[in-house]
C-alpha cells in the first residue's frame, strides 16, 4: 500500500484535572504527505501536537511512530526520538540571545560532534533552503515575523528530520508572507519526501497545502480523510467550518439555566 502511515494514534485520552481535553482519538497520519490538523480554538489540537512530539504525556492511549510507542518511552528514548523530528512553534521560539546562525547550529552542536567549518556549511545550506541566506549574523529580534518562521524551519531542519511539525505557521502573518510559507512547506514535501503535520485554522492555506485532513471538535475526532472528502463532507460542523458560519445554538435554555445557577 502506498499510503502507509507514519504515525498511528490509538485511543488517546487527555485530561486536565477532571476536564476531558481529548476524548478517545484514534487515527493515522500518512507518510510523506502534508497532514493538517484543524478545528476551532480550544478544541485540543495544540495539546494533540504536544503529545505527538513527546512534550506532554497523555492520560492513556498510545502514539506509534515507526512501530514504537512514544507514550511509553523514558526521557533518554524520547530524546533519541526528538532528534529525528523537527518542530516549528507558533512564535517560532528562536533563542533570542543567539544569532540566527547559532540558533540553527544549536541542535547540530548539541547532538553531533562536527568541526566548526562543517557546521557553518550545514547552517548556510539550511538557511539557503528557507530563503534566508545572508542573515546568519542577525538576531531574532531584528527579523520580521515571516523571516523568524523561516529561521525556525531552518532550525527544525538542522538534523535532517524525517518528520516536521508546525504549530499554526500562518498565525500573525500577512497573506503574501503566509503564501510564501505555504510554498516552502510544499517544497519540503516534494523535495525531501518528509512527513509534515500542520496545525492550522487558516482555510486558504489548508486547501492549498494539505493532502490529508484531521478535524477535531471539542476534543473529539469528527473527520479524517483527504481534502476532497473534506470539501464534500456532509458533516454539519465541517460545513460550518468551511463556510465560516458562526456556531448557532451554543446551548439550550436548560443548559444556560444550569450554568448560571451552578455554584
Amino acid at each position: 500500500m502506498q499510503n502507509e502511515s507514519a504515525i498511528t494514534i490509538k485511543n488517546l485520552i487527555t485530561r486536565y484535572g477532571d476536564k476531558l481535553i481529548l476524548k478517545d482519538l484514534s487515527f493515522e497520519i500518512p507518510r510523506s504527505k502534508i497532514t493538517a490538523i484543524v478545528g476551532g480554538s480550544g478544541c485540543g489540537k495544540s495539546t494533540l501536537l504536544k503529545h505527538i512530539i513527546g512534550l506532554l504525556k497523555p492520560a492513556s492511549g498510545s502514539i506509534l511512530v515507526g512501530g514504537r510507542d512514544i507514550v511509553a518511552m523514558n526521557e533518554r528514548e524520547l530524546n533519541e526520538f526528538r532528534r529525528r523530528i523537527g518542530v516549528l512553534f507558533q512564535g517560532s521560539a528562536l533563542l533570542n540571545s543567539m544569532t540566527i546562525e547559532d540558533n540553527v547550529a544549536l541542535p547540530i552542536r548539541e547532538h553531533a560532534r562536527l568541526n566548526e567549518a562543517t557546521i557553518k556549511i550545514m547552517v548556510k545550506m539550511k538557511l539557503d533552503l528557507v530563503g534566508l541566506s545572508g542573515f546568519d549574523d542577525f538576531f531574532p529580534a531584528q527579523l520580521s515575523g515571516g523571516m523568524k518562521k523561516r529561521a525556525g524551519i531552518a532550525r527544525a531542519m538542522a538534523l535532517d528530520p524525517e518528520m516536521l511539525f508546525f504549530d499554526e505557521p500562518q498565525a500573525g502573518l500577512d497573506p503574501i508572507t503566509a503564501a510564501g510559507l505555504d510554498e516552502l512547506i510544499m517544497k519540503l514535501r516534494d523535495i525531501f519526501k518528509m512527513t509534515l503535520v500542520v496545525v492550522t485554522h487558516e482555510l486558504h492555506s489548508l486547501f492549498t497545502i494539505a493532502d490529508h485532513i484531521i478535524m477535531l471538535d471539542k476534543g473529539e475526532l469528527i473527520f479524517t480523510g483527504t481534502v476532497e472528502q473534506f470539501k464534500f463532507s456532509e458533516h454539519p460542523k465541517i460545513k460550518r467550518f468551511i463556510s465560516r458560519q458562526v456556531e448557532e445554538d451554543k446551548y439550550c435554555p436548560e443548559d444556560y439555566f444550569n450554568i448560571i445557577t451552578a455554584d
Partner: protein, 268 residues
C-alpha cells in the same frame, strides 16, 4: 460555627498541600540541577564551558564594582558605629577586630549574597521565565536538549565559583573601608590597625564565610531557576516571578545563614 471550623481545617489542608507540591517541584529541580551540573559532565562528557564563562562574567565580573562600593561603605559604617561605643571604654583599637571578624564571618557573605540575589537571581528568573513564556523552553525540549542542562547548570557552576570570589573581594574592601576611616577620622596608627586585624582574624573565620558563600550561590540559583520555570502565562507573570525570586532568595539566604551560624558557633 461548624462552617468556620470546616473552612479553617480546609484552609490548613489547602496550604499544606500546596506547600508539599512546591517542595516536590523544588526537590525535583534540585535533583536535576545537581545531576546535570556535577554528574552529567562526567557521564556524557558535555561541559558547557563557553556559556559557563559567559555566566561567570555576568554574575561575577560585572558585580565587582557594586559589591566593592557597598562593602567599602559598610566597612566605614561598621568602624564608625563601633568607634561610637568603644570610645567610651577607650578601646578604639578593637575597631579592627570588630570590623575584620564581622565582615569575614557574616557581613561579607550576606552582603554579597543579597547583591547577587538582586542582580543575578532576578535575571535568572526573568530569563528562564520569558523563555518559558515564548515556548523557547519547549523548543529546547523538542530539539532533545534538556532545559536544566542548557540553562541552569552553567549558571549554577558560575554562581558556585563566583559568589565566594565576590565574597573575598567584599571582605577585603570592607576591611579597607574600616581601615581608611580608622586611620583618618579615629586616628589609629595604620601599622597597629593592620597588626590588630591580622591578630584578630583566624583562617576559620574566612573559611566559614566562604562556605556560606558557596551555599548562598547555590540557593540563589535554585530559587531563580524554580521561579523562572514556574512561569506558565505571559509577560506579567514573568515580572511577578522575578520579584518573587528576589524576595524568596533573600529570605532563604538569611534562613540558611542562621543555620550555618548556629552550626559554626558550636562546631568550629
Amino acid at each position: 460555627m461548624p462552617y468556620l471550623v470546616d473552612s479553617l481545617i480546609a484552609l490548613i489542608g489547602k496550604k499544606t498541600l500546596s506547600l508539599l507540591a512546591v517542595l516536590r517541584d523544588v526537590s525535583i529541580l534540585i535533583n536535576s540541577v545537581f545531576y546535570w551540573t556535577f554528574i552529567a559532565p562526567f557521564t556524557t562528557g558535555k561541559l558547557r564551558i563557553k556559556s559557563t564563562v559567559s555566566e561567570m562574567v555576568k554574575v561575577g565580573y560585572n558585580s565587582i564594582p557594586i559589591v566593592a562600593v557597598i562593602s567599602f561603605f559598610v566597612g566605614i559604617i561598621l568602624a564608625l558605629q563601633s568607634a561610637y561605643q568603644l570610645k567610651k571604654v577607650g578601646a578604639l583599637i578593637y575597631i579592627a577586630n570588630l570590623v575584620g571578624v564581622s565582615l569575614t564571618r557574616e557581613l561579607g557573605p550576606i552582603l554579597t549574597a543579597i547583591i547577587v540575589a538582586g542582580r543575578s537571581g532576578s535575571a535568572f528568573a526573568a530569563e528562564i521565565g520569558s523563555m518559558k513564556a515564548a515556548e523557547e523552553v519547549d523548543a529546547l525540549k523538542s530539539m532533545g536538549i534538556n532545559p536544566v542542562s542548557f540553562l541552569v547548570s552553567p549558571k549554577m557552576l558560575a554562581m558556585l565559583i563566583m559568589v565566594p570570589c565576590l565574597t573575598v573581594i567584599s571582605d577585603f574592601v570592607g576591611i579597607l573601608g574600616g581601615f581608611v576611616l580608622s586611620v583618618t577620622v579615629v586616628n589609629i596608627h595604620p601599622q597597629s590597625y593592620i597588626q590588630q586585624t591580622i591578630n584578630a582574624l583566624m583562617v576559620k573565620d574566612v573559611i566559614t564565610g566562604l562556605v556560606k558563600a558557596v551555599a548562598f550561590g547555590g540557593i540563589i540559583t535554585i530559587v531563580g531557576a524554580y521561579q523562572g520555570f514556574q512561569v506558565s502565562g505571559g509577560a506579567e507573570e514573568v515580572g511577578m516571578r522575578t520579584t518573587a525570586s528576589v524576595v524568596s532568595s533573600i529570605f532563604m539566604v538569611i534562613l540558611f545563614d542562621l543555620f550555618f551560624t548556629v552550626l559554626f558557633y558550636y562546631f568550629t
